[in-house]
Amino acid sequence: MSSDPDKLVAKADKLTKLTLTRWSADWRNATLNYEQAANAYRVAKKYGKAKDAFEQASKGQEMLSSPWDAAKHMESAAALAKEIGNWNEVADLYRRASELYVECGRAQPASDALGKAARAVEDHLPDVAVQLYTDAISLLEEDDKDQMAFDLYRALTAVYIKLEKYTDAAAALLRLGLAADKSSATNSQFKAYLGAIIVYLYAHDVKAAEKCYNDCSQISAFLGSDQGRCGSRLISAYSEGDVEEIKRLAQSSTISHLDHAIIKLGRKLPTGEVTAVKAGTEEGEGLDENDLT
């Protein structure tokens, strides 16, 4: 057996091509050859050829009805594509790998593949990354493996913040809170809620932040927790226009335990002008009267 990868590939191609003398392709040997060739190419750092070889190997495994091996080869191909820097192809290859994993019935590796893809392309194609993360999350949630989704949510939030889509980021954090609630991970849940409030405040949308805080306060445990108290102090500092208080809270330890991206946002608070929101307090009094009557 020659170890020259080119020769191996040529041989494998011949094995798979159907001619008069060959009525059915010999996938087993062909796949073997492709795998060897791909490894040889990888060692020789010929990433393009290695990627192609892996793709062929994957197809071979598919023909041999072993989707697991096919998926594994596809992932290797995608990793090599990452080395080359061909981002669209990276996304495509990982997606195919994920589909093959789903065929095996294993949601976890499928979501992992999509997560790897998203991480690879998030610098270059952030929108594609967002899509990939969302798909990965939905894969896990369908399989009831919410806890594994936390990391994906956090990465998704980071991407949104980089894209400056703050409402989307806050929404992602709230979904994280929901997933955490389902798996009773209260600490993560409360941190997610506090993060959402901070994102809203950073986007200088105080009303939304207040609304968010009120919604989250429905959960009594959140009210009494560290994060809840920090959130309420932030909101009240904003409504009183107390810049010093906001700065002090931003340095507090509760915020330092949150995600990196959110800590960065927190330290930059307050953004823009912080005027005492009188309208808010008036509204509050109006509501009180309504309650009394």
Binding site: Q147, N187, S188, D226, S253, T254
Partner: protein, 262 residues
């Protein structure tokens, strides 16, 4: 907890909640007569305990204890003397079922009580043997009565500088302690957060480990059965096949040896 503790605790609880005892209250409010008698009894009981305390002073070894007890006595005396006018008013009240003589006797009782209170020794230097004006007995005593708590004022003012320095040092030390406590609090916050995260991580891994456990169990049982079958197969092979080969080879070797030695 001993029985005595139980009894004392039950007693104090009963006393505390006596005011909720409807029957008892009804009993007490039956007539003003009992109000006077009650108050009188209370004052007398307190007076008795005060006298006891005064007697214990004589046997107390510790100077500080003596001072403390004396202070306590003086305070109680002042309080009781305040109660006396109330008692007198009650005594004046005309109550049905009570004869005129008894009414007068009451006011006498009250004044006698007053004298007795004043006569309790409380460690004041002037021998407080009261005359008929018991209330004014030992005018110095009265001063101490009301001002005892501030009586160290006279000493206080002597040590202004020392106490100032002490107070400053105390404040500084307190500030340093506060700073240290702040640092500790932050560290604890971080620890708490880490512990929570570890907790969540472990909970995440519980079902995974369960899965691993199952799979490993299955794999090991598969292995065991495979091993047994393999052993059987190998034994079978050995017994028949290898034996024949052994014999054949042996014959060959003997043949060759014979040929060589021929």
């Amino acid at each position: 907890m001993s029985v005595i503790d139980l009894i004392t605790r039950v007693d104090s609880i009963c006393r505390k909640f006596d005011k909720y005892d409807v029957d008892k209250q009804a009993e007490l409010n039956v007539s003003g007569d009992d109000a006077f008698a009650r108050l009188y009894a209370v004052v007398e009981a307190e007076l008795d305990s005060t006298i006891e305390k005064a007697e214990s002073v004589a046997s107390a070894k510790n100077r500080a204890a003596v001072v403390a007890i004396n202070a306590e006595i003086r305070r109680t005396k002042a309080r009781l003397l305040d109660e006396i006018p109330k008692l007198q008013r009650l005594a004046m009240k005309k109550v049905r079922g009570l004869s005129r003589e008894e009414l007068e006797a009451r006011s006498d009782l009250v004044s006698a009580l007053k004298d007795r209170i004043a006569s309790v020794p409380d460690g004041t230097t002037t021998a407080a043997q009261p005359s008929s004006n018991g209330g004014a007995s030992a005018s110095t005593g009265i001063k101490f009565n009301s001002n005892y708590d501030g009586s160290f004022d006279s000493d206080y003012f002597q040590n202004t500088e020392e106490t100032d320095r002490f107070r400053q040092e105390y404040e500084m030390r307190k500030m340093k302690q506060d700073e240290g406590l702040d640092v500790i609090a932050e560290g604890l916050d971080t620890l708490k957060d880490m512990a929570h995260d570890m907790n969540e991580e472990l909970e995440r891994q519980v079902p995974l480990v369960d899965e691993i456990d199952e799979k490993v169990d299955k794999a090991s049982s598969d292995l065991r059965s495979t091993n047994v079958r393999l052993k059987d197969t190998v034994n079978q092979l050995r017994s028949s096949r290898n034996f024949c080969i052994d014999i054949i080879l042996l014959c060959l070797v003997l043949g060759i040896a014979a040929y060589l030695y021929k």
